[in-house]
């Protein structure tokens, strides 16, 4: 064994990111770490690369117990990590990034010599990059090469790649895989973090599955005959939390997307040819691994971004170029994915946070000034209705628990009686009680005639709440199907980019209409 991590536990306050995790990696293999977002893969690898210290557990390298206190220690032991968000300095050249922080650097840098050595390495591993180019001018794929070269330049023996394909085009993925094969031939060992089954089957030797911070199993990839089994291990099954949902006949179309594409400012195509429609009284659930384009899709609907191609129709009006302010006026409510970053202002009170979307409401004002008493009374009632536990409405938002913060946001967004409710990961990080409560509220909105777009990575939730389900993968809608014909198994495979047998793209797309 090259590397053994034994009984590693890492806590962040209340949250246990890794619980008693043991992992062993053989020399020369490509070892996959498979798991959903939040399963603890990256935390475990950050411990190995010296970014975090483990609370408990032992790390052995070549049988010897080692202590890694910081990044320098990890580098000295031959462990290199390519983070998902690159640790490059965009304003510097490739060679400057490569030699940055090297212990053997002389006072004045010999960049020419270093460039020569870098070119040598590049030739050996098939990773040629211009040493004198500025990193900011490189494509994402080339930047990834620089990260790998940086590790190789430091004589890494164990290379950790954190979701390396997440940012790459299919062609770049091919060349990355070729690179990985060359590296292992040259004797390197790779830890490959991913949640994409096909990639793991394609490139890895063994695979350790993590779920909610714990190891489920380590298996030889060669032994995998049933992809379904692997997907189930990753996704897991929760206790049944059935939500009561009466039949509602869908009404008018509220939102219609037609062939939406979105290219971000770095030129990456985040959303590709997405079309669907949602009617009053129905919940369309979109499931997918994080980063499959859901965020950008929602931004295009809410006006935070504008689709670069295709049309968005809201209440029968084209809304693609509308500013957010106007879209909100059309009765769109939005529970965003990152409540701390977007949906709330921590320093402000509950009262002021509840006012965010209705700051110009006529009956809250008297001669242009807020009637704080009336607003407080109104919000007090809202807090009671939504079972928000707080000292009072003047308590700062940041003092509340995550569940109560989310309830404030849900209360605010539902109180406007939306035509269209967009909820992204509404239950992320919440306890069972709050989760059930918020799920109930979402169904209530649908029963009251709202069109609901629910984005979630939690399949149980998607299955429980949705009337129709769409699966997003790599910017595309893989399939849209009625809830009745969906199974967790089928969704799990689609989320990992695998078309289940007996289901082809044609059928899948037909489900959309």
């Amino acid at each position: 064994m090259l590397l053994e991590m034994e009984h590693v536990t890492k806590r962040f306050g209340e949250l246990v990111a890794n619980r008693d995790v043991s992992l062993s990696v053989r020399a020369g293999e490509v070892h996959a770490l498979l798991g959903e977002n939040g399963a603890g893969k990256t935390t475990l690898m950050n411990i190995l690369s010296g970014m975090y210290a483990a609370d408990e557990g032992v790390i052995r390298l070549n049988g010897e117990k080692i202590v890694i206190n910081n990044a320098r220690d990890a580098i000295a032991k031959g462990i290199g990590m390519v983070h998902q968000h690159f640790m490059l300095v965009p304003a510097l050249t490739v060679i400057e990034n490569v030699v940055l922080g090297l212990k053997e650097n002389k006072h004045f840098l010999d960049l020419r010599g270093a460039a020569a050595r870098l070119n040598e390495l590049g030739d050996k591993f098939g990773l040629a990059v211009d040493p004198w180019a500025k990193v900011a001018d490189l494509s994402i794929g080339q930047q990834q090469r620089v990260e790998i070269l940086k590790a190789l330049y430091r004589d890494a023996q164990l290379l950790i790649l954190d979701e390396p394909t997440a940012v790459l085009t299919p062609q770049e993925v091919e060349s990355l895989f070729a690179m990985i094969r060359t590296l292992t031939q040259e004797g390197l060992t790779i830890i490959f973090i991913s949640h994409k089954l096909m990639e793991i089957l394609g490139i890895c030797d063994r695979c350790t599955v993590l779920r909610r911070g714990e190891v489920v199993q380590t298996i030889d990839v060669a032994d995998i005959t049933d992809k379904q089994h692997l997907a189930n291990m990753m996704v897991g099954r929760q206790v049944d939390l059935h939500v009561q949902k009466p039949r509602v006949t869908p009404g008018d179309e509220v939102l219609k997307l037609d062939d939406i594409c979105y290219t971000d400012k770095d030129g990456a195509r985040r959303v590709k040819n997405v079309s669907f429609a949602i009617r009053r009284g129905e919940i369309l659930g979109i499931c997918g691994i994080d980063g499959s384009g859901q965020s950008q899709l929602v931004e295009c609907i809410t006006g935070l971004a504008h689709a670069t191609q295709g049309s968005v129709t809201l209440n029968g009006k084209p809304s693609n170029q509308m500013p957010t302010r106007e879209i909100l006026r059309h009765g769109v409510s939005h529970i965003p994915e990152d409540r701390h970053r977007m949906a709330m202002v921590g320093q402000l009170s509950i009262n002021e946070n509840l006012l965010l979307m209705t700051s110009a409401r006529k009956d809250f004002l008297c001669h242009g000034l807020y009637r704080w008493k009336a607003i407080s009374t109104y919000n007090q009632k809202l807090c009671e209705d939504y079972q928000i536990k707080a000292q009072g409405v003047s308590e700062p938002m940041t003092n509340l628990s995550g569940g109560n913060q989310q309830k404030v946001i849900v209360a605010r967004e539902m109180d406007r009686h939306p035509n269209l409710l967009i909820a992204m990961h509404p239950n992320r990080g919440l306890d069972i009680g709050s989760t059930k409560y918020i799920q109930g509220k979402i169904v209530e909105a649908r029963n009251n005639g709202a069109a609901v777009l629910l984005v979630s990575g939690d399949l149980e939730e998607i299955m429980d709440l949705s009337d129709r389900i769409a699966v997003m993968y790599n910017g595309r809608i893989m399939a849209v199907m009625p809830q009745q014909s969906a199974t967790i198994d089928k969704l799990g495979l689609l989320m990992a980019g695998v078309m289940p047998e007996g289901m082809n793209e044609h059928i899948a797309t037909n489900g959309a209409s």
Partner: protein
């Protein structure tokens, strides 16, 4: 005309020098991501402590060293506030400036009395460079200057080379552009920021000492009068490069030098517009640089590890 040009150039170099010296200091701390508006106060302290040191030791060199040490000491407080305590850099700088305004006056009155400083001190004398001083115009202006002027002119390209080609220079640039990446490679972000701030403090002390002992030969209250802010402007206009600072400092210095001459000759152009020029140029430069600026991506942001 030759006489006019010679005088104009000579005074330009003399006026530019303190701005260049302090600019060459803060360009490094700025590159490491720390906004250093406290340079104004550090210069003021340097101007006083230089005079005090020179008066006490009888040597302008020792006086300058004492000025530099004072700059380092007060920079240490600034660094502790901004790097260790992650205080707002602008406010900490402002606090330092307000403090320095009071501190120097109190010290000056205690040491030299209310009447002001009549004490005779050793000051920077001109050091004409043999042979070169014979060249027409340039000889009498550029090559007949006090030592710090030569230092400022020579240091700029050397420091440019140091920032761009040395290992510490690379670390400094990396820390300002992406402290997290630097941290992931085992570079201590606080250590780098402390070092650049202490160095900038020494340079501010030096520049201050030159104001009180190179341009004149006494300390007067509030004598820095915005030179520290002008150095900040020089760093911005010079696009965060030492050589750029040199150029910007000379441009700003020549505007001021020209202004004196216009004032004396009774020119129809109001001299105040020349004095405004450095600041207007800097704002325009900011508009033009826009995306191409070398301003570090993490300028002004305290670094939280993890």
């Amino acid at each position: 005309m030759i006489q006019w040009t010679t005088n104009f150039l000579a005074s330009t170099f003399l006026i530019s020098t303190p701005i260049i010296l302090v600019g060459l200091g803060i360009v490094f701390s700025e590159r490491a991501g720390v906004i250093n508006i406290g340079a104004e106060g550090l210069m003021l302290i340097g101007a006083l402590m230089g005079v005090v040191g020179s008066w006490a030791t009888g040597s302008v060199i020792l006086g300058t060293l004492i000025a530099m040490l004072s700059g380092v000491f007060f920079s240490l407080i600034f660094a502790y506030l901004t790097v260790s305590l992650r205080a707002n850099q602008v406010v900490a700088g402002l606090a330092l400036n307000i403090f320095a305004g009071g501190f120097t006056v109190v010290m000056n009155r205690l040491i030299f009395g209310v009447a002001g400083n009549a004490a005779k001190i050793d000051v920077f004398n001109t050091v004409p460079i043999p042979v070169l001083k014979e060249i027409p115009i340039v000889g009498a202006s550029l090559f007949s200057q006090p030592l710090p002027v030569y230092i400022a002119l020579i240091a700029a390209p050397l420091l440019q080379f140091y920032l761009m080609r040395s290992n510490p220079g690379l670390k400094i640039r990396a820390v300002g552009e992406n402290p997290k990446a630097a941290d992931s490679l085992g570079i201590s972000v606080p250590a780098v920021r402390y070092m650049t701030l202490l160095y900038a403090g020494a340079m501010a002390g030096f520049a201050g000492a030159f104001v009180s002992m190179g341009q004149v030969s006494f300390f007067s209250e509030g004598m820095i009068a915005g030179k520290g802010y002008m150095a900040l402007a020089a760093v911005v206009f010079g696009n965060y490069n030492p050589v750029g600072v040199l150029m910007a400092g000379l441009v700003f210095g020549s505007a001021e030098s020209l202004q004196y001459r216009l004032q004396a000759s009774g020119s129809p152009i109001p001299y105040q517009f020349l004095l405004m020029l450095p600041y207007i140029i800097t704002v325009l430069a900011l508009c033009v640089y826009h995306k191409k600026t070398n301003r570090p991506a993490y300028s002004g942001q305290p670094y939280h590890k993890g």
